[in-house]
Amino acid sequence: MLSIKNIHASIDGKQILKGLNLEIKPGEVHAIMGPNGSGKSTLASVLAGREEYEVTEGSVEFEGKNLLELSPEERAKEGLFLAFQYPVEIPGVSTTNFIKAALNEKRKYQGLEPLDAASFLKLLREKAALLELDKSLLSRSLNEGFSGGEKKRNEIFQMAVLDPKLTILDETDSGLDIDALRIVAKGVNTLHNADHSIIVITHYQRLLNYLQPDFVHVLMNGRIVKSGGKELALELEEKGYDFIKEELQESLTA
């Protein structure tokens, strides 16, 4: 459903992604790990279509479409969802109104009528319950004054309402307390299905304990340097990234 081939991307003239490849099939969960600054969020931004990033080489196919040709909002409406590492605040716009606008845009794109008020409220309640989200947050301005954990949970709540085909979780686990982590993971697991693939960007094993990734990739210096099963994450947790660097060094000198 997602096929990234040899992607090169730069920002402000600085090359960040340097030939990254990744194949994701429907329903798979892929974890991406890697040191700070290795390009994980950059990859997320490039996939979501942030204009500041220039793709200089390579291709991305999403559900048979050339993803790079689509505008960010088209990508979203095609079913790509990015749970931001740093969600932004929008004063004066309630979470409810925001998500309603987003949902109806998506429905319009799909040729559906806007959801009527009753069905919309029902949907909101259901998803808020799933994520044990305090309902008062829904009437407050989007993310304004939300705690770090509340913001992250709100991202997953939006994902739940918008029902995407591909979700990218960019360090959704950071800032979550132990209970919130469990709730968010449970929410993601509930929404994960054979048609909903997930990319989990994380530094830690704890979220992966819940999500059970099919693949774990290590991103370093703008490309994926090692891939494996979920046991790779455990190995990384234990040894850090040094052993991979050493492996790389060896393969280079060999």
């Binding site: 979501a48 279509g49 942030r50 204009e51 500041e52 505008s71 960010p72 909002e73 990508r75 979203a76 409406k77 969802f81 990015l82 931001f84 969600p87 932004v88 929008i90 004063p91 004066g92 716009v93 109104n97 925001f98 998500i99 606008a101 987003a102 109806n104 845009e105 998506k106 794109y109 301005s141 939006q158 918008l162």
Partner: protein
């Protein structure tokens, strides 16, 4: 981001939707201003002698005045001799009292403006007075209102039917000598609305006036007077549009409000005069004096304005808080795009004890526009425990526009508390991208962010107007608000 900025720019440069003019025969005075023109206006309107004298006095005073230069506005000298001071749509009768007597062309115009008087009559329960160029052309619901003793009619009608009331209050809140444009208006005002709510009456419906400039080279100088007697309440709405023309047209109105004891007047404006084209050509010069006096104790006057039109806006709806415990409010959204310039704000003059005022100003600048807030909070010696709170926020779209804040405070009473907060922000790329990632295109994203920014003010508009105002922001800013 370059594309986004471009999109933004295109969006704010949308065409003016109300830029049509109507082919209606008009009865027009020759260009220029002198005592004869004033006599002509007064004669056309069958005015009593005192009013003519009053006008002439204002004119003689105006001749000695010069245009104010202190505002943060730039525009060429206005040639006051190149303006038509009286233009009236020709109808069989001088003043149609009923809708049926209104020129069908005119009704078509009103329909285009979204003011279907018939619809209004049937459905919404909003009484409407329509002023086209210099003359009030239709007032609805008069009979129903009259049953409660409420007078809502054209100024010219009030001159005939309620001369004593008019004489008692006209020019008492905005004296003819108040400022250059007030003097000009006093000399040449042609029509406007008059509204009187008797003691203890709560006006059962929104009263609304629509102003429309149609005739070329004509100025519009309307005058509105609202009187709320003890314990009365009224919510008043004002809307305005003008056709697209290459020349600038002058609009210099006066609104006076008197609130007696325990009375409350809520005055809402959605100002959408033609703003001029993309090159800054044409557009209305809007110089307006609006002032209310909380004359009685415990009275309240609240101004809410959504300003999206005009090439130039010079406007400071103010409240004189004379009665003890009286309250003045000013809620404003001013949106400028293209080459528009707005210098708007308020003056809260605290005189009575325990008087309170609240100012919430939201300025949105886009294109190459300049948007200034200018506010004065004045506390007299007598104003024990006066309180003011001001919040002035500016939002910038793009980097070719400007936002400016000029708050002035003059306090002569040390028990008074005056608070001022101001912020300036830009729509962030992060905010836009976040919205886009959720499926909203840049246009809708901006609309959403702007709506959120203006929310506190929009919430103050009566329901009937909020939708329209919302729409207006959208039209001025982009295609549609989600």
């Amino acid at each position: 981001m370059a594309d986004e900025m471009q999109l933004l720019e295109e969006r704010v440069n949308r065409e003016y939707e109300y830029g049509f003019s109507t082919d209606i025969e008009t009865d027009t005075a020759p260009k220029g201003l002198n005592e004869d023109i004033i006599r002509l206006i007064s004669r056309k309107k069958h005015e009593p002698e005192w009013l003519l004298e009053w006008r002439l006095k204002a004119f003689r005073h105006w001749e000695k005045m010069t245009m104010p230069k202190w505002a943060n506005l730039q525009y060429p000298e206005i040639d006051f001799q190149d303006i038509i001071y009286y233009a009236a749509p020709k109808t069989k009768k001088a003043k149609p009292g009923k809708l049926e007597e209104v020129d069908p062309e005119l009704l078509k115009t009103l329909d285009k403006l979204g003011i279907s008087l018939n619809e209004q009559k049937r459905l919404t329960g909003v009484a409407v007075d329509v002023v086209m160029d210099s003359v009030s052309v239709a007032t609805t619901f008069q009979e129903q209102l009259a049953e409660k003793g409420i007078i809502f009619c054209a100024m010219s009608e009030a001159i005939q039917k309620h001369p004593d009331l008019l004489r008692r209050y006209l020019g008492t809140v905005v004296p003819m000598t108040d400022n250059f444009f007030a003097a000009l208006n006093s000399a040449v005002f042609t029509d406007g609305s008059f509204c009187y709510i008797p003691k203890g009456v709560r006006c059962p419906m929104e009263l609304s006036t629509y102003f429309r400039i149609n005739k070329e080279n004509s100025g519009q100088f309307e005058r509105t007077l609202i009187i709320a007697e003890d314990g009365a309440y009224v919510s008043y709405l004002e809307g305005c549009t003008a056709p697209r023309r290459d020349e600038n047209q002058l609009h210099a109105a006066i609104v006076e409000i008197v609130a007696m004891e325990h009375a409350e007047v809520k005055y809402s404006t959605v100002q959408n005069w033609y703003p001029g084209d993309d090159a800054g050509k044409g557009g209305i010069y809007n110089f307006v004096t609006k002032r209310g006096i909380c004359k009685g104790n415990n009275s309240k006057i609240s101004w809410t304005q959504v300003e999206t039109g005009s090439a130039i806006t010079w406007k400071y709806p103010s409240v004189i808080l004379k009665g003890d415990n009286s309250i003045g409010e000013f809620y404003s959204v001013a949106l400028t795009t293209k080459f528009q310039q707005a210098d708007t704000g308020t003056k809260m003059h605290h005189i009575g004890k325990n008087t309170r005022s609240r100012i919430v100003s939201k300025g949105i600048s886009a294109g190459k526009s300049q948007n200034s807030y200018r506010g004065l909070v004045k506390v007299a010696k007598t104003a024990e425990n006066a309180r003011n709170f001001s919040q002035c926020d500016s939002l910038l779209l793009g980097d070719k526009c400007g936002a400016h804040t000029f708050p002035y405070i003059e306090s002569k009473n040390n028990t008074a508390v005056v608070e001022h907060e101001a912020t300036t922000s830009k729509i962030g790329e992060d905010q836009l991208f976040y919205c886009e990632q959720r499926g909203l295109d840049a246009e809708k994203a901006v609309a959403l962010i702007v709506t959120g920014f203006a929310k506190e003010v929009m919430n103050n508009l009566p329901m009937e107007f909020a939708v329209e105002a919302q729409k207006l922001l959208a039209v001025s800013l982009e295609g549609s608000v989600g």
